[in-house]
Amino acid sequence: MFATSRTNRLLLHLANVVVIAFILLPLAAVVIGSIQSEKALQADTRRLMPLEFTLDNFIVIFSKGEQKGRIYEQATYLPDNIKSFYAAFANSTVVAISVTFLTLLFGSLSAYTIARQRFRWTIFLMQANIVARFVPAIVLMIPLYIVMRSLGQLNSLSGVIIAETGFLLPYAILILAPYFDSIPSELEDAARIDGCTRFGAFLRIVLPLSTPGLAACGVIMFIISWHELLIPLILNARPDFMTLPVVIASLVGDVHVFFNLMMAICLLALAPTVILVALLQKYVVQGLSVGAVKG
């Protein structure tokens, strides 16, 4: 829509360079920060690129603090949470996969009927889901903390999984309902005439046809659940049950942890979802736009 004269093209290239630089700035910071030593960072506070690189930050995390490497040789203190990196990674994986599975399961059952059967109460349920998507986590966390505390469910992965599933389910339904609606109902009608039940038609006809929708919803659920901080932060305070975001948050107030170690653990925590988004970009784009405006 713009005239494509030479100056215009040049300006557009320039604008792109600015946007790309802005997008990449934090990634450059986290990568460069994680592969240098505290000493190198402190030696020259004005230099952009450090003189030497090291993998010691990652080694100390991967060896649970046992192999200290050159830069941590003299360090007498390492935060305990760094040592529980493997546990946190495993917890995050278990929570994210469980939440993705449960939201897809409950969400597709619900979204299918909302898309197909127009009762007054299913329409109301859809509107309730839209409103529920706006509920801020902090409002839920105070009562959930008290309830889970009295049920003895603090410090358990199942508590976090239940809470996150309930919290994310409305969003999953908002993403899935338009997909089911876009599948022509003639196919199910034909199957039903041939003797298929309602549930059979859903299971054998609709679900296989909506794999792109399920993929789009699933990848978004996994990402949000992998990123979720407030729910596990409040429900799980014991190191054994922390997820990665909680471990990262616990480093914030620790004056003895230097940026290099923090950047290394941040890089490890963001890698899975970055890879996921890079591989499944198409589905993320579809899911996000459908979930906001219903296709």
Partner: protein
Amino acid sequence: MSVARHDGRWFRREISAGGFAFFMNLPTMLCLALVLAYPVIYAGYLSVHRVGLAQLRRGEFPFNGFDNFERLFEDRLFWVALKNTFIFTFITVGAEVILAVLIALLINQSSIWTSRVTRFLILLPYAIPPIANGLIWSFIYSFQFGFLNRILFSAGVITEPINWAGNPETALYAVTVPYIWRTLPFAILLVHAALQGIPRELYEQAAVDGATAWQRFWRITLPLLRPIIAVILILRTSFAFAVFEEILAITQGGPGDATWVAAWYSYKVTFSPPNNFGMGSASAYVLALLIGAMALIYVRFVYRRVTL
């Protein structure tokens, strides 16, 4: 009449449409009741009761009317937090809408190869965990070792380090940038999708009529983008009201009270000593009501109603 063979498998038995819909929605309704509706109602209950650590241990919450709300509204810090939340929301949402339209137009230029690179990278910030994003930016902003000051030194722009997030004058603005960075892809995506829906003929016709690029933008593009801009405004405003992770990672509300926001206030009042759960719930409820108003506008006027 069912023509299904009844071979005893439960899913082979035919049920009515209403019964089917009910059973299919049962797990969702249980989930929503348990994890959303009940806590929201219970938070309302807590907000009119005295709930501290002592009461929590005893398991008795004495009713105290609107004491929590009265104390809340008398708390200067609460009003500071609300004011900061509004400033934060206004800046981030305003910047996001403008940037989203500009960048969506930019990545729409498929004849420019750098635009294709941008389009490929645009979703990257969405993949970064918010708490990691906050920590990365606190490194970028660091007074002594920060990446931003290093860049500015290298470029020769500054001669003395700047304390971006540690200065009460700039801290609130400093935390808006990471939030904008992380949430912008979503807005760009929506505008980009809306741009694809504008018929090319409109622009061709306008070009024939001698309209300049500027006129085409104001007369065709922007009016047709209005619905999606409304969606972005409401969604982003609601979520920016509840900003938490970036505040926790970069400033923890500081310096002083410069970056206390509503969610941070509820969190601190509730989960750090003296653990006033009642007042925390009351403050969270104020936030929820603000966001609830946005949600109702969204359902009523913006999100196309369930006619699917």
